[in-house]
Symmetry: C2
Subunit: 521 residues, 2 copies
């Protein structure tokens, strides 16, 4: 089974069903299938061979979905590129994977032209208007090429390279096979996340597998894919109301903007049965607001990473809201191993630790990546005996629920005690004047590290550092409480997946501290 | 992912959940897991090595489920043996696969003793009472052996040999890999057939993959498995009422006995959300009776064969009862390709035929068998370019629904016209006095073949051949109508899966005809 299997099947069982919706453009699966087979033909005519890399640098669109399918249909490899990266970072990744072609839309036409020249690759322009000079026009290629049969990639073949690592050091290309992506989709489908008749909204960036998780489920079962160009709360609301969307995936920052939007009270969100969320933790306060704003919608937490194609655990809706779940405060967990996955917590020697003990989360399943592109040593460090070592710190309770505490690298050691920034962040976010917060460890001569908090107040609210510290001291041990707090108005630096870039916050803190230190010195 | 993955996972996420229920014996997953790991240890101590074959000849029991898991946990290969076969047939299959061990229960203890001596294999007795001399006692082995770690079979490893072919010629061992069985389960789970919290009743014989389809789904998600020794309508009713069974799989003859049982009116069947049916076609008349008797139960038709591990198509409940389905008489279809499978109809050269044209049903997917045990030529004839050629004749409509017409070998050619016995059987079964019927082609000098019907009247009813023929002539073309009818009181010969053995009916017809022919000659 490869990633085009669902398309081949839906062309037989539901060819006239609605495949993609992008604004006013609605295409049946028959039309999507025809375009995909022509796109594959065009790629072949342009010299793209089995295994060649085709990079895509685009906002969301129905064409992005066609590219996922069409590049696979040609037997080639898609490289979905992070639209938030700098020119230099993108150029680096294109060179790293030796991409043969770059597909851009209007938003990235200029950058694409420069990149194509610099790296030396074919440029394809996939948007509604005419292509700039030097670029081939996507729709014209499709119109002028005959459909070709599916290259029928093997399930073990590479189907995509997803560059990751924005939050920690140098970017690496995660190699995912057809089997990786299909298996993850089947695991999620077995968990009932996209029942028959689902209409999926692609609202999170399509280059990222957080959205891809939902999209590939939808592609396997032949469900409808609604696409919005990029996330806005209004865009999500309109797309849901207009297309009777039943399920979407949002990262917590998106959920916050969506449910805090004043328009949601009047919008018809009754079709929306499920919001999957993940990619970064969600505060309990935000989740409660979200549940109030969307009383008919279930929330399902998924935890994973690109290397897991991407899911490892699932916290079902019942595990959010049942009496038992509430009593045990299960919202703090990221769930239990999904169907098809095994999860365990290991120590530094990769040996399992007893329940309740913090260690590194490790995951085994058919969804574990093939490896990092041309980085065998880093692959060998990450995947040991089939277990992906996630770099996430956490513990598991006796019922198999996983509680994340931090990136292993982000754990704070203060006065010899482990402090998990997530625990501190959960407390701070309960303060009524706090919209967002982030906690890092900062150097301290006396304690090794101390806890430093960044806080963005809710609009109109005022709060100071002393209040935050006092609030924390009421709720958690003193050594876990921030020693210093910075109140900010501008948003936090985010990765492509919406994760707060703590590396960047540390750099900012160090920069701000440096002159003072220099002065003091 | 291998077939023990679900057990490993449930031991973490739901160890105290109910794993198996067999009469009054209820075991948690923790207990099942412990017994499985000890059973594997015992097999190892007895010399069973990775890949060795362990045959099982038993009625249904919780121990049968443990054997499926425990033999896989030891890295060995289970050979579930058809309990309806003759001694000679079973001996043949044991020799064919060179089984090292045979596990029997009380019902097969005597036969097991003889077989073990004849073939020369270890005998294990898996029942409640003491083992007969010469046999090892299953429960004692488990009690006296320490648990061992899972042998962690590879997904491509052989996990079971399922002998098949009861309905057509010499028996062949269908080799199924872990991936085959797990993939089929994931396909069925993606179709929503066993949602979270399902309680599955093993009522059909556990040696057969028709029941195995449901059982493996349940094992992958860690659902409860209720077991009854063998099918009786009362047993099914009691097990459902007592254990709040939500889903089961029955073959049509079982559905008939269940829903026609007078006790069903008073039994509390409200927990039963779904009956999957398949293994042989169901008449429309019976399905309608079943729907009346169980108004809260959905019926899902599955079509497949052991070689497909076993499912290929699924007719959803909505596709039985929606207005559109009724208008198009969709109950006659066996459904559309399941998630993960592709189905097509091919001609004698294995080339796809247009929709509406009768040909052979071919299926592609991760669930297609590894091959027939030590029969490479027969494997090569059946699996061509990854497509399993089922030997079933049928056609596909423009919406992807598959309609079976006959085994390719069972098609009747009368006066140059193709007659599909299933079409004739569907008509005859609508006659109010008919309980069951079967149609074969019999030799005719004038027509090549003519249609011959066997009919079992409903209890108390009387019908003769002329009435059946007249009834058919009102509904279908004359060349399709029986020329001769035999009214019978005894049941039809059935295969292990409950399929009418037409080969045997043909033999009986020929035998009855022979003396007359001899006399005439």
């Amino acid at each position: 089974m490869n990633v085009t299997q669902g398309l081949r099947r839906v062309l037989q069982v539901n060819p006239l069903g609605l495949g993609t919706v992008d604004g006013d453009r609605r295409r049946t699966w028959h039309a999507v299938g025809d375009r995909v087979a022509r796109l594959a033909g065009a790629l072949q005519k342009l010299g793209i061979r089995r295994g060649d890399r085709v990079a895509v640098l685009m906002l969301n669109s129905d064409r992005y979905l066609e590219l996922y399918l069409g590049i696979a249909w040609a037997g080639a490899v898609i490289v979905p590129t992070n639209i938030r990266w700098s020119h230099a970072e993108i150029e680096d990744s294109l060179r790293d994977c030796r991409a043969a072609m770059l597909v851009v839309d209007k938003a990235f036409a200029v950058m694409g032209e420069v990149l194509a020249k610099a790296v030396g690759l074919q440029l394809v322009y996939a948007d509604d208007d005419a292509a700039p000079s030097g670029a081939l026009h996507y729709d014209t290629l499709i119109e002028q090429t005959d459909p070709i049969p599916d290259a029928m990639a093997d399930r073990e073949d590479l189907t995509g390279i997803f560059y990751t690592g924005g939050t920690t050091g140098r970017s690496k290309g995660v190699m995912l096979s057809h089997a990786n992506l299909v298996s993850n989709a089947l695991h999620m489908l077995a968990e009932g996340l996209l029942p028959e008749g689902s209409v999926y909204l692609n609202a999170a960036p399509m280059f990222h597998l957080a959205n891809g998780a939902g999209m590939f489920c939808s592609l396997i079962v032949g469900g409808t894919n609604v696409v919005i160009r990029s996330f806005t709360p209004e865009g999500v609301m309109n797309a849901i109301a207009r297309n009777k969307v039943t399920v979407t995936l949002l990262v917590p920052t998106m959920i916050q903007m969506f449910v805090d939007h004043p328009g949601i009270a009047d919008a018809d969100m009754s079709s929306l049965k499920r919001i999957m969320y993940g990619a970064s933790p969600i505060s309990e306060a935000l989740l409660n607001r979200a549940m109030t704003a969307l009383p008919d919608t279930e929330f399902n937490q998924l935890y994973g990473m690109t290397e897991l194609a991407p899911c490892a655990t699932h916290l079902t809706w019942d595990q959010h809201v049942s009496e038992d779940a509430k009593r045990k405060n299960r919202q703090r967990a990221c769930g239990r191993a999904t169907v098809g996955c095994e999860v365990r917590i290991v120590d530094a020697d990769h040996k399992p630790v007893p329940s309740g003990t913090v260690g590194e989360v490790a995951v085994r399943g058919q969804n574990v990546m093939m490896g990092y592109w041309e980085r065998p040593e880093e692959t060998a460090k990450a995947v040991i005996d089939g277990w992906m070592h996630t770099g996430d710190g956490g513990y598991m309770d006796e019922e198999g629920y996983v509680y994340l505490v931090d990136r292993v690298k982000d754990m704070i050691i203060s006065g010899g005690e482990n402090v998990y920034s997530m625990e501190v962040e959960n407390v701070i976010s309960q303060h009524p004047a706090v919209s967002q917060c982030a906690v890092i460890g900062v150097p301290s001569e006396q304690w090794g590290e101390t806890v430093h908090a960044f806080v963005i107040p809710t609009p109109g609210a005022k709060v100071n550092g002393a209040e935050i510290i006092a609030f924390c001291k009421e709720k958690i041990a003193h050594y876990k409480c921030p020693r210093s707090v910075e109140i900010r108005s501008e948003p936090f630096p985010l990765s492509g997946a919406g994760k707060v870039l703590k590396r960047e916050l540390r750099r900012q803190y160090a920069e701000a501290a440096a002159p003072a230190a220099a002065k003091a010195g």
